[in-house]
């Protein structure tokens, strides 16, 4: 925590110094960036959000950092192309098929929606009095589901905003109590978990597409004699649910029953937040997984092949500071 605070102060000072000392060039949405600064040198966050132009045809990786900034990269080139600064504590992220990005801001009790490559939120979802932790978009409806930790209205909840709605419907569960993971499948069924907060056990529930309440569900792992230990999130990989518990475990959810499918072992893993599975072909299984790793000294966002896993194929450290949630906004087709 101290590291984050000092890092943030240093970042503010650095940004102020740079702005004062250098000329500036206009950027998208009126943001500014020092003249002559290459993308690679724009490491430290600034007061205002900024984003390079011409990103519509780029897959973009968004990373929530512990210094309360969200850094944005060209997914394939790994270059920093922008920084979003409107957050107090950005956590989990998600994206929809149109490329819109949703970023939970835990202590601000809201979720901000950004267009692909945009610097200003196009919508703010008021989640008070709860603390949003992560999110998922229903591909069949565009509804936004948010997993809330306990916040000030104990217990936590799953909050769902119907597309176009300004207020959510909240679902609670006495067994899970709080929520740290949620993901929709291709049919609009939602799988949720309370994650791994000590000393409680890890539990799961699901909300069917037509359902009106969360239903507890037993999710088997690779060995029935062992229980989940460190669940950090749930994703939909295009074919199965993928549960992040150090490795990634694939689960088939069929009419309210979960079946174990397989494991993706990730070397050099260690995410503090949910992974994101890169998938640019709806209806097929994702091909890469991305996740933040907080090491003893350095923070990185690693890329792995999926579902094969193994050694990271790339480690992104430029501008990364205690990463948490990540998401990928796919390039725009039009």
């Amino acid at each position: 925590m101290m590291t984050n605070r000092y890092g943030h102060l240093f970042a503010l000072a650095a940004a102020a110094t740079m702005l004062a000392a250098c000329g500036s060039a206009p950027m998208q949405n009126g943001a500014v960036v020092p003249q002559g600064a290459s993308s690679q040198s724009r490491v430290r966050p600034q007061h205002r959000s900024w984003m390079d132009l011409g990103l519509a045809k780029q897959d973009l990786l968004y990373v929530s950092n512990g210094n309360s900034e969200v850094t944005v990269y060209r997914y394939w080139q790994h270059t920093l192309v922008g920084v979003l600064t409107q957050f107090t504590q950005p956590k989990g992220e998600c994206a929809d098929s149109a490329g819109n990005v949703y970023i939970t801001d835990s202590t601000a009790q809201r979720i901000l929606e950004f267009a692909h490559g945009g610097t200003k939120p196009i919508k703010s979802f008021d989640d008070s009095p709860d603390s949003p932790y992560t999110c998922s978009i229903d591909p069949t409806t565009g509804n936004l589901a948010v997993a809330n930790q306990d916040g000030t209205s104990q217990p936590g909840s799953i909050a769902i905003w119907k597309k176009g709605s300004s207020s959510p419907t909240r679902y609670t569960d006495s067994l899970l109590y709080y929520f740290e993971g949620c993901a929709y499948d291709a049919n609009g069924n939602l799988l949720v978990t309370n994650g791994s907060r000590y000393p409680y056990g890890t539990y799961f529930a699901w909300l069917s597409k037509a359902g009106n309440k969360l239903i507890n569900i037993t999710v088997p792992g690779p060995d029935p004699s062992r229980a989940w230990g460190y669940v950090q999130g749930i994703q939909w990989d295009g074919k199965y649910f993928a549960i992040d518990d150090y490795s990634i475990y694939r689960i088939a959810l069929i009419h309210g029953q979960a079946y174990y499918v397989g494991e993706t072992e990730l070397d050099a893993a260690g995410s503090n937040g949910p992974y994101w599975i890169y998938n640019n072909k709806p209806g097929t299984q994702g091909t890469q997984v991305v996740g933040g790793v907080n090491g003893d000294e350095d923070s990185v966002v690693n890329y792995w092949h999926y579902p094969s896993g193994g050694e990271p194929i790339f480690g992104l450290s430029h501008g990364i500071d205690n990463p948490f949630g990540v998401t990928v906004s796919l390039k725009q087709q039009k």
Binding site: A210, T218, G229, H255, G256, Y259, V261
Partner: protein, 329 residues
Amino acid sequence: MKRYYWFVPILFVLCACGGNAVAPALGVAPAPHPDRRSSWISPELERTQAPLLFVSDAGTADVYIYNVKTLKLIGTITGFAQPQGECSDNKGNVWVTDASGETVYELSHRGHLENELVQKGATPVGCTWDPTTGNLAVMSLLGVPSQSGGVLVFPKGVGTPTLYTNSKQYFYNFGDYDAGGNLFFDGRDANGNFMLSELPKGKSSAHTVALTGGTIYFPGMVQWDAAKQDFIVGDQSCGNLYASCVYSVKIAGNTASITGETKLQNSAGGQLCDLVQGVLFNKELLGSDNDFCGSTPSATYIWPYPGGGAPTRYNGKTDSVPVGAAISR
């Protein structure tokens, strides 16, 4: 760094479940996860010669034993991991598939463990016993040999199985033998579309059977109806909704024709939410509704067949996530 730790050993108490009734719980509240209770058998079960209904419950990881005539709960067998579909043989033994346990358990008429078939890598969810050979066919939803499922046939219900697949099928759910020993089983292809397949007696691979006369959206029970010389095939998404019904299906060559539909109601008169695998017995259909739709509590029902409609009897006090059903004579 993350720590990776699995714990909570399961207390497997399936064996030694005979003896006197030991207590707990008629009408227990549904549990969200395995309840860790001990098995119990009532005095009625110890002495009865009457047909019994075995119902597997993946929510509690138990198998319930009911008096067929009254649907009174007279025994509970615990210690499973994820009990699924069931089948029975001519000795009155009941086979219970256990998906995450990767095992098929053989229980006696009184609920005693007779045998277990462990098949690592499999996901057993359905089974059927061939009266012409004594072989046991087990449908593995996934995982054999890679990610797609298959049918494992255990000769005489023991030993090492032989794997059979239809190359076009991905998920394998339920099946049954016809009078000639041909095995029919349902499931889905890799895109999630319903499939019906046949493994002809003596053949080494299965083929697709084309379905005509209607659409089945999600595979449910498959049972040979000897009286009508056709199959009962269930649809867990009847009308592409969260609703269940069963169809009469007549086989002719490589074609299966839907010749009738039986609608099933719950105790409130609404359409059944999810009948996973029922069983036909004495012109009645017995099975359970896993009611995740929220209209009624999950319950075990008996309906007239083929008439369907309102249940003639039901027990809504026990089930959590009921799945499979089998009759032990």
